[in-house]
Each structure stands twice: as structure tokens, then as C-alpha cells.
Assembly symmetry: D3
Homo-oligomer: 283 residues x 6
């Protein structure tokens, strides 16, 4: 990831802080003497792929431009339970004000990276890539994509303006798959490829014949996917195959890969956030 993402990645952090802080941290104001300095430690509560340490640093920098987080692992590394992953020195009230937002980000993003990595390891030694879908937490898509890449995933389609995908809903509304792909080929700019969601032999045939660049199998079982992939390969040696949906799990991922899928798109809506703790001590 190059710099351009960082600007966008962290654009919402002040919003996240305002959401938690509102008119200010009543508890710190009541209890902590002004200008009290403290040390803070972030400790992994279980095994995970760490993601979000840079985001966490950004949280504290947004509160106080002097704060600096010292990370002992990089975003993307796997750690074991009990690992001291980062520490900071700063004003106690700043550390307390950012604590929860920073932890929520690290936990959520590490959850995404860890889940992605389970999929990536499941398809090791195959040619399949794990990519993101648009089934993502509202407001966090950029950060979740970043975590997915840390976990070993690849970039899929960021949003509706990032490539053309013709779904079954599009086909229903535009006179069927043949007409839909044909129209798309004519109207879409010369720098975009076309993906088409297909679910049976007839659709595979039509989509390939009309020049679809990628076939997308959504909610197919491994067996159904395998048959259609074979059919597609016979029709074209250039078409890419993407599989996704509820049958694609960490357990089934390898079977999809072995069935010939090039891309496996995963949802980040239901990732599980691992435990991370944050401990202060006087300076």
C-alpha cells in the first residue's frame, strides 16, 4: 500500500474519537491531575494477526500531536497470547481518552486480518487468491481492505465505481444476461473489465460468449462450482473465476481453490475481534 491510502485510511479517526469523547472525558477530568505523564502497554490477549497499530497511533496523534506509539510488531505479523505488541509514553489523560477507540480499531482490524489469514493458509500452494467483497462494515471499508491485505488477501473491487460487475439483479432488469453483457461491453470505458455473476451452464455459456472477463459464482456449492468452472475453462482460457457467498468458509476454501477458482471473495461483516488489553502505569 502506498501513501495515498493512508490519507484516506485515517480520515475518519477524528469522527471515531468524537463519537466516544463527546464533550470530553468526564472521568479523567475528575480524577487525573493535569499534565500527569504515564506509560501505556498494549498486550495481545490471544493468538492473532495484528492489524491497526498505525491506526491506533493515529488515534493518539489526533488527540495530541506529541504522542508516539512504539510498536514491537508490525501490522501484519502474527503474535501469541501475552505478547507486548506496543507501548507509549504520554499524558495520562490523552492515553485514557484514546484507549477505547484505539483498542476497538486494533481488535476489529486484527479480527479481519486474522480471518483473512485463515483463508489464505487454507488455500496455500494453490493459485487461488483471497479477495475482499463489498459485504463489509459500513464506514470501515477502506480500513477493512487494508487489514485484509495485511492478512495476505488481495484487492478485489472497492465499490460500485471500481469495475463493472453484472449481477443477477442487473440481468433481470435489462433483458437477460446476453443483452446485459453486450450493452456493458459497448458502454464501459476502455480501461475497465467486466465481471458477470452466473449460476448455471446456460449463463456461463452466454457470459463467456459475450466476452465477460470474470465469471462470479455466488452462493454455489463446491460441486456446482466445479462443474461450471470446468465448462468455462473449455469455452475460454482467458476468463477468471471468482467464488463467494455462504458456502465459502475457512473449511471449504481449499476445495473451491482446487475446483479451479482464481479468486475467493470473503465477507468482513462477521469477523471475530480478538482480545487486546491496555495497561497504564505512572511514568
Amino acid at each position: 500500500m502506498n501513501w495515498t491510502d493512508e490519507g484516506a485510511l485515517y480520515s475518519q479517526i477524528s469522527l471515531f474519537l468524537r463519537e466516544d469523547l463527546g464533550r470530553g472525558d468526564l472521568s479523567s477530568q475528575a480524577v487525573i491531575a493535569r499534565n500527569t505523564r504515564a506509560r501505556a502497554r498494549f498486550i495481545a490477549g490471544e493468538q492473532m494477526i495484528v492489524a491497526g497499530l498505525e491506526a491506533a497511533e493515529e488515534v493518539f496523534l489526533t488527540l495530541d500531536s506529541q504522542q508516539q506509539l512504539e510498536a514491537f510488531v508490525s501490522d501484519g505479523e502474527q503474535v501469541e497470547a501475552g505478547k507486548l505488541i506496543a507501548r507509549m509514553v504520554g499524558f495520562a489523560d490523552v492515553l485514557l481518552a484514546g484507549e477505547r477507540v484505539a483498542l476497538n480499531l486494533i481488535q476489529h482490524l486484527s479480527g479481519v486480518a486474522t480471518l483473512t489469514n485463515q483463508f489464505v493458509r487454507a488455500v496455500e500452494e494453490t493459485t487461488a487468491q483471497i479477495v475482499d467483497s463489498r459485504e463489509a462494515t459500513p464506514g470501515l471499508r477502506m480500513l477493512e481492505r487494508y487489514a485484509l491485505v495485511l492478512g495476505g488477501g488481495s484487492i478485489g473491487r472497492f465499490g460500485l465505481d471500481d469495475g463493472v460487475v453484472i449481477t443477477s439483479n442487473h440481468c433481470v432488469m435489462s433483458g437477460g444476461i446476453v443483452a446485459a453483457v453486450k450493452t456493458a461491453k459497448e458502454k464501459v470505458g476502455h480501461l475497465h473489465k467486466i465481471g458477470v455473476q452466473v449460476s448455471d451452464e446456460s449463463e456461463v455459456k452466454h457470459a463467456v460468449e459475450q466476452g465477460a472477463d470474470t465469471l462470479i459464482f455466488e452462493d454455489l456449492s463446491v460441486d456446482d462450482a466445479r462443474k461450471l468452472i470446468e465448462q468455462a475453462r473449455q469455452l475460454s482460457d482467458r476468463v477468471s473465476i471468482e467464488c463467494g457467498g455462504q458456502h465459502l468458509t475457512v473449511d471449504s476454501a481449499r476445495a473451491f481453490a482446487e475446483a479451479g477458482a482464481d479468486l475467493l471473495s470473503i465477507s468482513t461483516l462477521s469477523c471475530r475481534a480478538p482480545q487486546v488489553t491496555f495497561k497504564l502505569s505512572p511514568f
Copy 2:
């Protein structure tokens, strides 16, 4: 919930749409004839407490002020797999543009409501209430709180400015629990109560003696919590008890309630999003 929440609840929806739409829906622009009208149906893919139908409607209204969603269940109701939960009539390109954002919201919020409801049913016939914690998805706290209430939960503490909670980190940084609670009592406005995080007998004693209104047990086992609750009850008949943390699960919730906890605070970071599908058909 009164009107004031609605303004705030939906303030980010245009952001969510921009996140997905970017410069516009390339696929619809390529494939769907302008002004094509369509019907849309939202169908539950599994059993769940529905939450987010109003948010979904807001998604489509943000795109086109004419759209209207007809809900067959209200936010907060439980539905079975296959249930038609809502339908719409509108322009196909608007329906397609809002589809994914609407589904992501319904799925995530229904996940929170469903999880909350599992906790609520687990403590039925006890006096314990399920409340939210600040362990929540960044940017979605208001919506998640709304979903939690739909699932039967109650309002806890929205953010750092919403009541005083003295954590162990505060105590470490301010000379111990006695000093912390004492200072807080002096400094805090006359309309706020004081919660104190405690983890052993000595802290319970000090907190109650200093006049804490609520004791918070974080990451304690049921047995440890029970002992401290008994101690607290002997010291005061006015103090409230809140339990939370990693030992509090759907399975253990009843035990915490029976141990005497008044409030059980749950995290919404790891909720599981149920399946919902969205199907278009020509008008």
C-alpha cells in the same frame, strides 16, 4: 427512542453511500436503461431479530427522496428463514445503488439485535438488565446502541462524557481507588453518578465507603463476581453492580444474573451478521 436519535442515527448514511458509490455505479450506468422501474424484496436468510429496516429506508431515501420501503415486520421483531421482511418499488438504478449498503446495515444491526436478544432471553425472569459497553464498532456506536435496545437491551454509557467510570487505569494514575473516588465525588457535577471498576474485596470496600454509585466487575469469573457482589450488598443496599468482559457469554449470563448483577454489559465488536438477500424484478 424519541426523534432526537433519528437525526443522529442516520447522519452517516450518506458517507456509507459515498464509500460504496464513489463516482457512481458503473455497472448500472452501463446496463440499466434510465428510468427503468423495478420491485425489490428483502428476504431473511435465517432466524433473526430484525434491525435496520428504517436505516435501510434512509439509505434509499438519501439516494432518491421518492423511494419508500414497505416493511412487513418492524425493527425489533423476530423472523424465521425465508420471511419476506420488506419490499420497495422504485427506479432500478437507485435500488441497485443502495442495495449493498442497505444489506450491510440490516445484516450488521440485525446481528447486534440478535446477539443482544440471546443475552436478554438468557437472563429472563431475573432482574438483570443487558446494557451496551463502549466495546463497539468505530463509527457505528449510535446505530449499534439502537439495535441493542431493539434486541431488549438497555442504555448503558454512551461515551466518555456520559457519566463517570473510574477504571483500574484511573486508579493507578491517581493514587489509588480511595483518592480517585474521593476526587471524583468532589469534582463531578451534581447530576452525575460515579461508577468504579473493582476487582477484589479491598477495592469493593473502598469504593463503597467512598460513595461509589455503581461497582463494575470486568473480566471476573462468575464465582469471583458472586463473592464480591455479596460483600458489596452487605456494605450498601444502594450500590448497583455491573459485570462485563470475556467471561460474560450467552452461556454464562444467567449465572452472572443469579449471582446478583444488576447490569451485564456486552461488546458489539464480534457480532455475527445473519444472511439477508435482496431480489429485483421488473415492475
Copy 3:
């Protein structure tokens, strides 16, 4: 006051500057040679409690991050007429651009601090505290609260989301004071106390019986307030008493305090701004 307030305190300063500057300072552009350096002095025109020097510095920093204000008194100190309260060295056009906004802030906030301090001195040696009401200048509430604290006041209720206060309008609309307080006790989160506006013996009785934490007497004379305070104290030794409204003046404040009020809430709508002048001289 801890850091969190500063962010919020000064969030509107660029708005204040834009309000005065519009498309730029025509006069300085016409008359002042670019990069001319100057000294500036802020001089008190009369006796006052100074408030707003940090805000004034923020004004100049917003215009030019290099500027620095050297204060000879701290916000909150009392000064006499003629006192040099601060000085600066900087670019003449920056100093002229910020002059009026800085003075308007210092004058308004010093007015609030000075007024507050008159109340505070009036109740010296009593246990009464001077607190802010929501009768405040639109857009300046945070800054006015800050000035009030500098003048010796305490924090009351910041806004509608900061504690529950049941007014006579609430009672009229919800079936009377008994129903209103009762409902509030059930619905309000476990970290909030409940204030109730009362105006006669019957209301005092009902409010205390229902468990109100604070009784609020608005627009009562000292004598009427005294009688109701005595009644309330007989009913409960825990309830707080707040008095406010048009009969509460600098002259009557001590009588309210001696009548037993714990909190006297003052309006900042009509404070008088003391004179401050700003003089430039070449570097």
C-alpha cells in the same frame, strides 16, 4: 480543565475569523507593507477577571502558526485598569487581522468571568456553589462555561444530554410531577441523577418522595425559596437544592445561599464586557 476541552473550546475560532475577515483585510492589504513586523500590547481598560487570553492566542495562531502571545497574567486572575495583560511580536497584518476577534473574545469572556466572580464573592464562606445555566450565548456555551470556571464557578449541566432535569413543562406534558419523576427513574441510565423543577410545597413533597436527586427553584423569591428548602431538608438529607432565575442577582445571591441553596445557577446572556485595548508599535 484537561486537554479535551481545549480542542472543543477553540473549534469555532476559524469561523469567528472568517466572519470578520471575509475575503481578506482590505485595509491592511492597502496600507501595510508585506512582512512588516510589529509589537502588540493588550491593556486592561478597567478592573476585571481576565479570561480568554488562551483563546486570543489561538486566534493569532490560526492566522499564522508562528505567532505567540506572551501573557503577563493567567486566565482567571484579577487585574486593575491600565494593566499590560499580554504582548506579542509578529507580522503587522496578522496582528491587525486578529485584533478585533481576539478583543471581542477577551472582552466577552472576561465579562463572564468577572460577573461569575462577583457572585462567587457574594457567597463566600457559605457552602453554595455558583454554576452555569443553559441561558447562554448561542455558539459560545463551551467558552462561557470555561470563563465561568475561571471566575470561580462550577460545572452545572452542559446541555440537554448532560443529566436529566424535569421542568414544569415536562410535568404538564406527562401527567404531573409524580408520573414524570417516576418514569424518569425507570428509564434513565444508571449513571445519571435526576433534577426536578419545583415551585410549591406539594411539588417539593412529590419530587422528594419519588427520589429526585436535585430540586430546582426557578424564579422564586428568597423568602419562598427558604420555606421550600426547609421543607425539603426535613423530607431528605440527601437532596441537593439549586436556585436560579430573575430574582437571583449579585445582590441577592448571599441571601439564597444562607437560605440553604447548594447551587446557584446564573445566566451568561447579559454579561457586561469590560474595555480592553490593543496597541501596535513598530518592531
Copy 4:
């Protein structure tokens, strides 16, 4: 005032509401049943020139686009104590949420209009006009100017980009009054006139000779002002005279007018807000 002001006048009202409402009106949420309708009355507590009824209506419209305020007097009219100035019918929670912001605006703006009107009446039958200065409440300048016009005042100089005024600080920084006015005449666009702050005979002479359009006497006594006005009139029959500063009070205004001042500029920093009450009753 034409339409363009209205957009600008009310641009900050949602900010004022957010300042008071924060995360929502806890008290109404606790006590008022959803969709309860109510009547509201605004009643003058003392004699005043009313200003801000339109702003108040805007407050309620911002909360709920259905609300409508029925005014019994127009902004700018004088009313006596006890006068019912406006009423509304609407949802109780909306009325309660907007009450304080609406009252704060009406009280502050009526204070400005009433003060202005005292000045205007003081100079009746003279040719002097009452104009605003830039000594105004930060964030409220547009609304205060609007109130000043309602009170009978005229438009002065809105901000630093609205006409050229060379103050003594400008002169000190640019080689004296002769150089300053000369440079200004050369550099300023052909649609702007030039005001110059002067304080003695020599400055009056220089400013008029260099072609100043307006002479501004700041903080002069009536007698000093009278002498310099006479001198200026002998030098030019085209120059305008503006007086302002701490010696200009409601009591002295007529003397300044009779001394020959064309414009009297008043500060709105210290206006006194009259009492207005807001009463709800069930529908």
C-alpha cells in the same frame, strides 16, 4: 433585508442546537411519550423591541420540518410585559428540544434591537444614523446586525473586507497618516471609500487633505468630537463623520449627533437580554 441574508442568518442554527442537544434530550426521552402533541406560547417578560422570532421558527423547523410558529408581532415591533408574542403547535419533544436555543436567540437579539432602538430614539430629529461596529459577539455578527437594523440602526461595516478603515494602528505601522491614506487611495479598488480614524486637529487636516471619505472619532468626548467635527466641516463639505467608543452611550448619543456626527457606531458586546418565557400545554 432581502433573501440573501436569510441563508446566512440561519446557517449556524443547527450548530446552536447541537451545542445544546448533544446526543439528545435525555429528559424528554425519559418523560415524554413519543408523538405527544402540545401547544407552546412565547410571552414577553418586560418591555422590548422583539427580534429573533424568525430565527426561533428556524430553530424548530431545523428540528422538525413540520413545525410552524405563529407570531403575533413582527420582528422589530415594540411589546409590553405580558404580551403573547408567538405560539406554536407541535410535538412536545420537539418543542422542548428547541425551547432553550430559541429563547436564547430571541432574548439576545431582542436585547440588541432594544439597545439600538434606545440610541435611535435618543437621536430622533437629528440627521445622525446609528450603525453597527465590529465590537460584536463572536459567531453572531450577522444576526446582531439584523437585530440592529430591526431596532432602527443602519448598516456600517460588516467586516475587514467590507470597506477600508485606517486605524491608528495602521498609521503607526505605515509611516503616519499621510502615507497611509495616500497608499490606500492608490491601492484600493474603485468601488471602495476610505475611512480614517483620527484623534486630533493635525490628523483631521491630513486625512481630509489626502481625500479620506469618512473620519472616525473613537473614544473622544463629546466636546473633543465637536471641535474636530467643526474643523473637518471647514476643510470639506463631502466628508462623513463617525463617532464611537466608550463615551458614546444612550445618554450622550444626542450630544454627539448635535455636535455634527453623521454616524454613531455602537457595540453589541454588552447588550442586556430581556426576559421571555416559554410555556407548554397539552393539545
Copy 5:
């Protein structure tokens, strides 16, 4: 163009209005009686392709939601000098406030549409398409693209995130054209094609061999372009050819098309705005 563009197209109009209006239209406030109604006519001053009538209507709607523009031609039509292209009825001060911004938009956008159309007519009966480049007026790219489509152009590449184009600067910085295209093929998502800027035979060869989807000739003469196009066609029958730069003019466009270019990308930086006048008359 489908709906999604409209939201984005007009998002800056209130900014354009604020730029012109600042604190309000002094002239109308001085001269036009409030609520004066008027008729307005837009008249073409010369032959042109009209673009921006919808934008102009949006300008007036932004000022006053009641205003409506009645267009006698649609955006995209060609008109002759003297043609009445649209009219309105509304408040005189609103019409005067929006006049200049509306005209500036119509003139600029009609300039872009007219220029595009000159190119489109120049290549009639060839297979070449006229597309936009990123050489566009800052802040107006979306509107200029819209005008280009009205003039008969097609959509090229909206911005840096809309397709991959490897320029000579990219090649210099990444080890040459072979390495650059190769890396791009590996890293870019499966829905994006790859354009490569090439300027000689060797680069054409390398780019095609590495699988570039589009070759871009920037600043080549027609003759140089023709030779490289022939070479490219021999190497591949799938590659697209885009020409642009300073040699591509209305006069040379046909020659580029006949030389085999598929896409001609034009700059909108130097378009010439045709005359349009706006006349008011009393209602």
C-alpha cells in the same frame, strides 16, 4: 448518464454561489424592492452546443427552492445566435443573485460541449471516439466530462483511481517499460485493464508483448502515430490505441482517426466560452 452523476455534478454549486455572493448581493439589496417578481430570458449570443442548463437551474434552485427554469432546448442541442434558450419567472433578487454564476456555468460548459462536438464532427464516419483527458479545469472535472458527453464524446479515465495508465514517468521510475507493465499486470485487480504510454517502436513492442490493453501516444505527429499504430496492429488485434497531446487539434483529428486511432483524448483546459446573455423584465 444516470442519476448518480447528478448528485455529484451539482455538489459544488453552493460553493460557486458563495464565491460570488459572499455576504449578499449589495446591489439588489440597495435597489430591488423585496418580493419583486420578474421574468428572465437566456439568449444565445452565437452558434453553440448548449450545456449547463440543468446546472443553471440548480443554481437558482439552490438560492430559492421555488424557482424553475423552462428550457427551450435540451442540454446537448445545437442552437444559432439569437435563440431564446430558456426562461424563468421568479423573484428579481434571486434571479440577479444567480445570474452570473449561471451564465459562467452555461458559457464554460457550452464551450466544452461545442469544442468536443467540433472534434466529433471532424471524425465522423471513422471508428474513432473522442474521450476526455485529465487535462481539465481544477474543480470542474465532473461537469466538464458531462459537457463532453453532451458534445458527443465518450468517457475516458476520470481520475487516477479509474484504470491504470503507465506513463513515461512511471517507466523511468520503475526500471523501464517491460518491468513496469509486468508489475502492473501482477498487482492490479482483476477488473482493471492497463494502458501504457509509448513513443517509439521498441516501446510499442514491449508494451504489447507484456499484455498492455491500450497503447497511448502522447504528443506524437500524425505520421509518427500512423507508423506505430501499424506496428501495433501487426503485433496484436486486441490492443486499443489512444492518441492525444498538442498535435491533436480539430484540424488534425480526422487524420489521427484515419491513421487508426480508436480513442482521441482532448484537453478541456483551453475551451472558448461562447456568449450568452440574461435579460430581466418586470412580471
Copy 6:
């Protein structure tokens, strides 16, 4: 230009960048290794007055606060084709991300400065000044005014709030020119002059008699303008004369000046952007 403009001048640059970058520079992300450093050169492609180098620097600073542009000429200087006008050292991906926006700004603004300068040179040795009109590119007025000043032009009227100009549309709507000027004189603040658009002898007579400060001739031929200027000069020796409109070209400007015009107002809608190239090389 003093500092105040810089803030305003560059306020939209992040918007311009977002317009081009969207979700990030796909090509650089694909091809350029992270942290690759490069040199960049800006080279004039033809003779021009340079404008926008500071804006360009601001573009790169917005992307990366470390970047610095070293300019070899100042904004406002004339350069010949081939001149190296500036260079930078920085990260390759930052340089590539800002390249197009920086060039678009330099080209557009240099176009305005160069055009202005052609007018300025055309009227050399006359007393006429070249000033801006409100016929300007939407969103770029401040930057275009800045470029116009660099080209030797003077400041005219920035927007509708910057001085009063009574056009023929105002006269039609307010009872004719006599009434319009008269009303304006009464209502306009004492720091504003009044310009009046006139087109024949009768209007000149009325406008001067009513005390107009500036007469504006729009769309008159040189001969018609000359006659009316002579008439105006006989009526008053104080009135300024401004000419503008479609007959005012670089070729006719001197004739207008010699006819006696004080101000020639030019449109920046149709300026021609000169060529500038941007070349990268490894560090």
C-alpha cells in the same frame, strides 16, 4: 497580496486532489516501489507569464508536508519556451499523484496571467488599468484574480458583496436608472461607492446627475464608448469610466484606453492554457 489571500487561495486544493485521486493512484500503487525517491522538473513549453508555482507547491505539500518545490522564476515572470521553471525532489508516488493537478493549475493560471499581460502591454503608457470582471471560471475566482494581478492587472470587484454595481437589469426592475441610483445612494453603507451600467447619452446624464461614482460601458464599440466618455467627462471630473464586454479584445484595448476609459474589465472564462511539461528522473 498579503497573507490573508493565501489561506483562501489554496483552500480548494485538497478538493482538486480528491477529484483526481479518488481512492488513490492505481498506477503508482501498481508500478512504483514504496519510498522510491525521484527528481521532478517543470519545463515551459512556450512563452508565457508564469502563475501558479506557489499553488503547485501547495498541491505537493498537501500530499506530503515534506515536499518542497524550488522555483527558478517567480510567479509573475515571463519565460521562454524550454525554460526550466521549477524542480522538486521527493517520493516518486507523491510527485506522480500531484503532477496533473499541479500542471492543470499552472497552465490555467499562467493562461490568465499571460492573457492579462497582453492587455496590460496593449495599454502601456496610457492611464487605463486592466481589472477583473465576474466573468470567471466557477470555483477559481480567487486564484484567477491572483493570476490577473501577477499579469499586471488590478483588483476590480470580487463578488456581489464587494461594491454596488447597478446593471441594466437592476434599472428595468426598479423604475429606471434615476430611481435606481437614488435608492442605492440612500441605502448603501457609507464605505461603498456606486457603479452604474449605462449605454446611451440619457443614461450617462442621469447616472452622473444622481452621483454615480463609476460609469460602466458593457458591450459598446470603441466609437460609442468614446462619445459617451466625452459626455461624461463634461458632466463630471470625478466619475470613473469602466469598459468591458465582447468588443474589448487585446487588439482593441488600446483604443478603449485612448478613448478615455480608466478601467478595462476582462473575462477569464476563455483564457488559453500554455503548455508545461513535468519530467521525472530517478534520484
